[in-house]
């Protein structure tokens, strides 16, 4: 059970944070179809940063001394780098959509094509193969939190809580959850949030009240880019052993679906992300999934084809969209370029 929860969280957390990325863009009025591309870019940037820092030897001493606090600082630094560059990358979309009033769907698609192309081109040049990995070691040995770090004995049998949330987990999960909560509060309880939301619903009204729609939409897209970039790195770290392959397997699009399913509201999105995370987790680990710890691999024993589990998250997404489309309510002005001259 601990394993299932941990695994589900690993998938649910990036989904949640990237879905929130979608919320910030769309609530400001810009459809960010480029979440997938920004994730890919963020994952690459994060992994590249880890690799370079390792090559420069900044944390060699910390690693030898087993100074896990310093190493967690390394993770936080990388998350920040991925977020910043994700935000920079998203400016391409913001510029096209806001300044040039471009078709946001095509603009987003362009970024989705650009990210993997650029990333793969560079990975090939850097690593001479199609995968960029850490320079030394693996994600688990460098970045994973283990029970020993919290003073538990190596052989200690942990309670349910500790074994689920303190052992074999990544700090990124908790950072993301905190960021998610903080940003959700900002969205609903601050002046900035109120104004941002007004731009996605009725930019003409916002403008007539002296709110700078262009600035707000830039803010929305940039925050969106930062979250997606960070989410991309978190995804690469926790599910791909801190490697970048120019691909996040449609995760950015799943996040968009989570956002729609969650009706553009953070609380619902958190719930939806958990649900989708569960399906992703089943798809990835159904064969080794021992739900109640009795050594019986229930799902593997049913004997369904592996491909069935793999396509499940996408199929479920499609079905969920089909059943919830009637009640979902997108920000009214999303996707419509704002022109001051229009009233």
């Amino acid at each position: 059970m601990s394993f299932l929860i941990r695994q589900t969280l690993i998938y649910a957390v990036p989904l949640m944070i990237v879905a929130l990325a979608g919320v910030f863009a769309e609530r400001s009025g810009i459809i960010n179809l480029a979440l997938e591309g920004i994730m890919i870019f963020g994952a690459f940037v994060g992994v590249l940063f880890v690799r370079l820092v390792q090559q420069w030897g900044w944390f060699d001493v910390a690693k030898q001394m087993d100074n896990w606090v310093a190493l967690q600082g390394f993770v936080l630094m990388t998350m920040a780098v991925a977020a910043i560059l994700g935000a920079v990358f998203s400016l391409l979309l913001a510029f096209a959509a806001i300044n040039l009033r471009a078709d946001q769907t095509i603009g987003g698609t362009a970024l989705n094509l650009m990210a993997p192309a650029l990333v793969l081109f560079l990975i090939r040049l850097i690593a001479n193969q199609n995968t960029l990995q850490m320079a030394t070691g693996d994600a688990a040995s460098w970045f994973m939190l283990k029970k020993t770090m919290f003073g538990f004995d190596k052989k200690a049998k942990l309670g349910f809580f500790a074994s689920t949330f303190l052992d074999k987990v990544y700090l990124t999960t908790y950072v993301c959850i905190i960021v998610f909560i903080v940003l959700s509060i900002i969205l609903y309880k601050t002046r900035f949030g109120l104004r941002l939301r007004s731009c996605g619903e009725n930019p003409q009204a916002a403008d007539s009240l002296g709110i700078n729609v262009v600035k707000m939409r830039y803010a929305g897209v940039t925050i969106s880019g930062a979250l997606a970039g960070m989410g991309g790195f978190v995804y690469a770290l926790t599910t791909a052993n801190c490697a970048s392959t120019g691909d996040v397997a449609g995760f950015g699009f799943l996040a968009l679906a989570v956002m729609i399913f969650g009706n553009w509201k953070p609380l619902n999105i958190a719930g939806a992300a958990l649900l989708f995370g569960l399906f992703k987790c089943i798809a990835a680990a159904y064969a080794s999934l021992d739900i109640n710890g009795d050594g019986v691999f229930l799902l593997a024993n049913i004997g369904l084809n592996a491909n069935f589990y793999r396509l499940l998250p996408y199929l479920v997404t499609l079905l969920v969209l089909a059943f919830t489309s009637k009640s979902s309510r997108a920000p009214k002005a999303e996707g419509i370029p704002y022109d001051k001259g229009q009233r």
């Binding site: 601050t190 002046r191 007004s198 619903e201 002296g210």
Partner: protein, 516 residues
Amino acid sequence: MEQNPEYVIEMLHITKEFPGIKANDDITLQLRKGEIHALLGENGAGKSTLMSVLFGLYQPEKGEIRKNGQPVKIESPNDATALHIGMVHQHFKLVDVFTVLDNIILGAEDTKLGFLQKKDARKKVEALSEQYGLHVNLDAKVEDITVGMQQRTEILKMLYRDNEILIFDEPTAVLTPQEIEELMQIMKNLAAEGKSILFISHKLNEIMEVSDRVTVLRKGKYVGTIDTAGTTKEELSRMMVGRPVQLVVDKDEAKPGEAILTVEGLTVPSKVHKNDAVKDVSFTAHAGEIVCIAGIDGNGQTEFVHALTGLEKASAGKITLCGHDITHASIRSRSQTGMSHIPEDRHKHGLVLDFTLEQNMVLQRYYEPRFQNHGFIRFGEVRTYAEGLIEQYDVRSGQGPVTIARSMSGGNQQKAIVAREIDRDLPLIVAVQPTRGLDVGAIEYIHSQLVAQRDAGKAVLLVSLELDEVMNLSDRILVMYEGEIVGELDPKKTTVEELGLYMAGAKRQGKERESA
């Protein structure tokens, strides 16, 4: 011009051009403190542009704005707000999913460390709404409240910002006569408290009732400013249009013939709420008469028309057209049975804006053998036909039949639709708000066309929100309130006031009207 502190706001010699059009040409407007100043002009006279200039949405090419005699620059709504200028726009600038309170404070929020502080704001708004009698529910979402309450929210937005100069842009278009009465009173209260009010309208009755002075614009030009007390409606309308206007449609007595359309017990479910939008509506429209469905916007007229024309499904009832039961017929077969439809929203339903004018002219009949041969379009025929209609109905456009519909003016777009629908020569014409947003000339034209169709023996079903249109054009009025027909009136035997009472649901006839 020397400084004159008598005026709170002066707009002097304002000129604003758009590509190809001088929307404002040397316009001067001077507003005294504490007066209600009407700004009169037709659609397209330049009123809204002038107000947008005052509000900082547009920058004029020439001219000067002064506040209390001092020249000021207004480059954004922020500047206007700083000068305590506020505006209730014709289309309300409200965020539907926000509460009334959030809408009022938006853009002028109190915060502590960036967090919203709504307590003081709530107190202030409550005090204001008490003071001016502007009753609103602060915690309701805007999408759930009535149009009247939305308008009060807009007024509170201005008062919350301590605005001294209040602009009302066509505020009565969406209100019932009773609500209009209420609004007039509110405006008088505001002026009495020292607020200066600019009242934009083309409705002469209201201007005569409430304003102190009137400034008239015509086709972007300044016509003059006069005291309301010393003028008449006729004079004002002449100033507005530039020629004497026929305020009444000239038509003969109707000679109703056989029944063309019979609606029995039509009920349509609502898409927004759980109740029915149209409840048990029955009536008959005869050849040679104009039957008008009157009512305030949102009382089921749209849903009724959609069910009648097949755009939406009815849940109960029966529709008979020319003797055929069309209750469950498709849109195409209704239209072929004998129904043409001038839709309410010309951009949404009436036209494919990205198509050319000629493609739009055959929108309802492209499939007829005249226009196609084994599925291939006969382009020559389409061109000839479109040119004929353009000629006959005087539809003006840049490049004739190949003009993209989007680039045409609203009046000509509407004329194109009217031409297309009337030319089909079908026994029933459903015309929904056929003159919305048009200038007097186009309105006169469309009205005369509809009367001509009536005289040619067609049944015309007119759905209108404009009281003048209803009273002038129709031979019989059915008033719709909350999805029901609450009264059937004869325009010659009723008054606007009585009609208003029915529209507001304050009065209704019993079931005995069924006999009609």
